[in-house]
């Protein structure tokens, strides 16, 4: 459930979802197995609905397009007995293909811009020095005629990017981000080192909020994957986490 949610949210539209499915199926974009991809596509859209993600109409239009292509491809090529004419006929996938290729170009360009953005976020500049406006009060009430709202927004955006030096400032010490995957394997390693079981609380060595939350999620995920089981002998008793045999086998 969680997994779906994250993934569905990250698509930028039907073309993006299709590219993802094609990539995942490891098939050539120029030779899309329409039946398979359509089926997967519909599953995703259905999942969106179930998760009440409000599948946008664009996704549904694409679903219709896919179904149409699929049915065209199923039609035997016997409407024209003449071989020559048959070859002249368009591949029903062609239009979709060109849209996908076109979209993919810009998706890649967007990725390139993202890298540039990352670089730029480590560069800072000072505020412009305001000149002394001592003379020419009369002139001042005249406004230049080449300044637009856009210039004001531009100035405001620059301001937002600027660092603010207010001394003295307390530095916040931020812990490193811990990923759930790392924490999952750490938990498994710990269990492995302790004859495959551990008290629940032992798995929370650091009393730091983020660490606790991530560890908790990691344990839930391990339970879901059937890599660990949790046993509580009676109410309020400490939970004991066991490494499952399946997991030991798969190691």
């Amino acid at each position: 459930m969680e997994k779906y949610n994250v993934q569905l949210d990250s698509f930028e539209g039907p073309l993006d979802l299709l590219l993802h499915l094609i990539h995942q199926a490891e098939v050539d974009i120029y030779n899309i197995p329409v039946a398979t991809i359509t089926e997967q596509y519909l599953q995703y859209v259905q999942a969106m609905q179930e998760l009440e993600l409000d599948a946008a109409s664009e996704y549904l239009v694409m679903a219709a397009t896919l179904l149409e292509i699929k049915s065209k491809m199923l039609l035997p090529g016997d409407t024209n007995t003449d071989e020559e004419v048959y070859i002249e006929e368009e591949d029903p996938r062609e239009e979709l293909l060109s849209r996908l290729v076109e979209y993919k170009k810009y998706k890649e360009a967007a990725q390139h811009l993202k890298e540039k953005e990352e670089q730029g976020s480590a560069q800072f500049a000072k505020a412009p020095t305001v000149p002394d406006e001592s003379s020419g009060k009369e002139k001042e009430s005249n406004l230049p005629d080449n300044i637009s709202l856009f210039d004001m927004l531009d100035a405001y955006e620059k301001l937002k990017k600027r660092v603010r030096y207010k001394s003295p400032k307390m530095t916040k010490i931020k812990g490193d981000d811990i990923s759930m995957e790392d924490r999952m394997s750490e938990v498994l390693t710990y269990l492995h080192q302790h004859q495959g079981k551990s008290g629940f609380f032992e798995l929370f060595p650091l009393h730091e909020r983020q660490h606790i939350v991530v560890t908790f999620l990691a344990i839930l995920e391990l339970m879901k994957n059937r890599q660990v089981t949790c046993v509580q002998s009676e109410n309020f008793e400490e939970i004991v986490v066991h490494q499952t045999e399946e997991d030991l086998v798969s190691e």
Binding site: M152, Y165, P168
Partner: protein, 189 residues
């Protein structure tokens, strides 16, 4: 940290602090060295700039170091500021104006706080241009003056009303439409 890294860090710090100046104590904390050492490095940088950067210099006021333009560059800076279109609404004035427009009524202290630098001059120039007006005093301690934009501001930027300023808050969610019926039909195939 190598000496070059230290000097680089100090150059960067001095530059972003700009007209506010860099307090030695803060620099020392950031670099993880003593205040004496920091002062020593800053003085080294000062000497180096004197020899190698004819347009900029370091000034030392008590516990602060500030990067400033040198006297030789002053005539050119004045000339740059003289350009009418340029001077009339500087970036400083424009960003101050944006802050007032989106937060009005607002005090000078609040503007300074958002900009991170003193905005006295920028506010004054906006008042002189009648884009912004002194709208009385806040009911907070010290009763500071509060500012708001004028009719002329709306006219100048061709905005029907303050409510129609573009939204600064981000939300880039795709527009979604209800289409459950449509989907249910697809499902049958």
């Amino acid at each position: 940290m190598s000496e070059e890294e230290l000097q680089g860090a100090l150059q960067g710090l001095l530059y972003v602090c700009g007209d506010e100046g860099l307090v030695v104590h803060d620099a020392a904390r950031v670099l993880g060295i003593s205040e004496e050492e920091t002062t020593q490095y800053l003085n080294q940088l000062k000497d180096w700039m004197q020899l190698n950067m004819p347009g900029l210099q370091l000034k030392n006021y008590g516990s602060k170091f500030q990067m400033v333009t040198s006297e030789e560059a002053a005539p050119y800076i004045e000339k740059l500021a003289e350009v009418p279109e340029k001077n009339n609404l500087s970036q400083a004035a424009l960003e101050t104006l944006a802050i007032i427009a989106y937060n009005q009524p607002v005090t000078k202290a609040e503007i300074d706080d958002i900009r991170g630098v003193k905005s006295e001059k920028a506010v004054q120039s906006l008042v002189n241009k009648a884009l912004v007006i002194d709208a009385g005093r806040a009911q907070t301690p010290g009763r500071p003056i509060i500012y708001q934009t004028t009719e002329r501001f709306l006219e100048y930027f061709n905005i029907p009303s303050i409510q129609e300023l573009p939204d600064l808050h981000e939300s880039i969610e795709e527009e979604t439409e209800e289409a459950d019926l449509f989907f249910n039909q697809l499902d049958e195939e």
